[in-house]
């Protein structure tokens, strides 16, 4: 009897998985669509690793020192010099539109040797708007440091106190690590919730589920076959995302791949339960769509799918910690990029376990064959 039940489940999984790979549209939405998001959000986050300031240099001086300064700035990495802006008025206009962070003004006498001195001197001026105070301050320090170097060449003096910085080799989390875990969460939602919510009402409308209900097929067999199929397809889809993230966006996976896969399956099954409950309950699309939107969109944003939770106010963080997607996204990040093991993420596992019980209890209770 147990063997027969299992044969039923295995056959359903086998045929439904084959069906999935024949369906180009389903393939696109499960594998291609999340990849598009990955490229968009990944591109946004990995592009601005080197801090650079967009500045204009207004050189009113004709000294060779000033010319060298402009040349060095243009070739250096720290400043992104906008060459077509040469007057202060033009720079002001661009700054007002936030196209420039600041303007560096070199006055007429900059770099000239004053009559009573042997070395050239001058004072550069940084012009900035209210919105760019931070950039201007940073830019001030950078120029200050550069001028100190120049000064040291002209005037020998002792520097009893100085500061050197040392870079640690240890890796800290990059914004991309957070973005990527969130995107995986988004992908899991897409498959687990939007899949069943779209498919089930259609199957009910066509009477396909009703026909199945005249056979001895049990709801648990139907659910189990859907869960296994979704886990297989989900692992493929998420695996492709990991591959792209590693090759294109240099994601460093430090965790154990088996633990990661097991955890992803757990996450997929948890979220799929929500889809099974919604799609299984709804008699038609009109019932399914609004309810799923009410549940999905708040969860998506509050659980840190598109921006990390640590950016939220504390009370909201405390609240969103209890959503089912939150421990999944956190757990993926902890295992994949922080190298944690199951034993380290027991709080997340416990929360997921509790949600699985609650979600599937509801899903079994509300399921309707028609």
């Amino acid at each position: 009897m147990a063997n027969k039940s299992l044969y039923t489940v295995v056959t359903f999984v086998k045929i439904n998985t084959k069906r999935f790979f024949r369906d180009k549209l389903a393939l696109f939405f499960t594998i291609g669509f999340p990849l598009i998001f990955l490229f968009v959000f990944g591109g946004l986050n990995s592009g601005n690793k080197d801090v650079s300031f967009k500045v204009a240099i207004v050189n009113e001086s004709s000294s060779s020192f000033a010319k060298d300064f402009v040349k060095n700035a243009e070739n250096g990495k720290v400043l992104n010099v906008s060459k077509d802006v040469t007057t202060l008025d033009a720079a002001k206009e661009k700054m007002a539109k936030s196209e420039l962070d600041a303007a560096i003004v070199l006055p007429k006498e900059f770099g000239e040797v004053q009559p009573n001195a042997q070395t050239p001197s001058g004072q550069a001026k940084i012009v900035y708007t209210q919105n760019n105070q931070q950039s201007a301050q940073a830019l001030g320090s950078i120029l200050d440091a550069q001028f100190k170097g120049v000064n040291a060449q002209f005037v020998k003096n002792e520097t009893p106190f100085s500061v050197v910085s040392e870079q640690l080799n240890e890796r800290s989390l990059s914004p991309f690590d957070y973005t990527f875990a969130g995107l995986l969460g988004f992908s899991i939602i897409g498959m687990g919730i939007f899949g069943p919510v779209n498919v089930f009402p259609e199957l009910k409308k066509m009477g396909i589920l009703r026909r199945l209900s005249t056979t001895p097929l049990r709801v648990w067999q139907y659910f189990l076959s859907t869960m296994i199929g979704q886990a297989v397809i989900g692992l493929i889809s998420l695996g492709v995302m990991f591959a792209v993230a590693i090759w294109v966006f240099h994601l460093q996976v430090v965790g154990n791949y088996f633990e990661l896969a097991a955890f992803l399956v757990l996450g997929i099954i948890t979220i799929l339960g929500i889809g099974l409950a919604l799609g299984g309950w709804a008699r038609n699309e009109r019932q399914a769509a609004p309810l799923s939107n009410i549940i999905v969109f708040p969860m998506m944003f509050l659980s840190g799918t598109f921006f990390p939770r640590f950016l939220m106010p504390e009370w909201l963080q405390n609240l969103s910690a209890f959503l089912p997607l939150t421990p999944i996204i956190d757990g993926i990040r902890l295992i994949a990029t922080e190298g944690k093991h199951f034993i380290d993420i027991l709080p997340q596992l416990g929360m997921i376990g509790a949600w699985i019980v609650v979600i599937y209890f509801i899903a079994f209770r509300v399921f309707r064959w028609e």
């Binding site: 359903f12 024949r22 009477g207 026909r211 209900s213 001895p216």
Partner: protein, 253 residues
């Protein structure tokens, strides 16, 4: 001989409407039993209660001696159900559809044999969405028989089919009956009922108003002094149609 299906004083109420109002009948082994009646007479509801799809308000249904309300799961192994409009998930091959339905009963069957039974073996590797209406009906019939049921329910099986496909389906239904399976079907076509059914129940307003063989029902009407205004012709328009277009199925190509 004990009846395969016994229906006793079956009732179902939807709100104000008594959809089924004390229906009783028996169906013998290997009998084709037709339920006729205008739309809303309660035919489909009666079938659905017998098929375990609707809870029974009052009365009992026994199939092979088992009470449907007591053990619906066991009943499901005894019955095959052909819905009004058969539908299958797309991107599924015919062979896979049969395999899946057999698996729903925990069984592994000779898929090709079941497709051959309904003359669909050359379509085994096609997707279900390429089938015509008649082919879908035939596929549906074979999926309802994969587990060797004792009772076969068909709800308006020939609605929307062309005359060729209709006749073909009649042959199929007779083949099923010849295997000793009891067939219970609803239909709106009187010629179909007359040719196919061993006995007929005519339902109206949730009640059975007459139950007998088609022959007896007709002769009873004639005894009451009924006569048609027009002279009955030896052929009708459908005979002309079949004569002109042949009996061969058109959806096979």
């Amino acid at each position: 001989m004990k009846a395969m299906v016994e229906v006793k004083n079956l009732k179902k109420r939807y709100g104000d409407k008594q959809a089924v109002d004390g229906v009783s009948f028996e169906v013998k082994k290997g009998e084709i039993f037709g339920i006729l009646g205008p739309n809303g007479a309660g035919k489909t509801t009666t079938l659905e209660m017998m098929e375990t799809l609707r809870p029974i308000d009052e009365g009992e249904v026994y199939i092979d001696g088992i009470n449907v309300s007591d053990d619906p799961q066991r009943i499901k192994y005894l019955i095959g159900v052909q819905p009004q409009t058969p539908a299958f998930q797309d991107k599924t091959k015919l062979s896979e559809v049969v395999e899946m339905f057999a698996a729903a009963y925990g069984e592994k069957v000779d898929v090709m044999q079941f497709l051959r039974d309904v003359e669909l073996e050359e379509k085994a590797n096609s997707y279900v969405e390429t089938l015509s209406g008649g082919q879908k009906q035939r596929l549906s019939i074979t999926t309802a028989l994969v587990h060797g049921p004792k009772v076969f329910f068909l709800d308006e099986p020939t609605t929307g089919l062309d005359p060729q496909a209709r006749r073909h389906l009649w042959d199929l239904i007779e083949k099923v009956r010849n295997k000793g399976i009891s067939v219970i079907m609803t239909t709106h076509y009187m010629d179909e009922a007359e040719i196919l059914c061993d006995r007929i129940a005519v339902m109206d307003n949730g009640k059975i108003v007459a139950i007998d063989t088609p022959k007896n029902l007709i002769s009873q009407l004639l005894k009451r002094g009924f006569s048609k205004k027009e002279v009955v012709q030896q052929a009708n328009l459908e005979d002309v149609f079949i004569d002109l277009t042949g009996k061969e199925l058109r959806d096979g190509q």
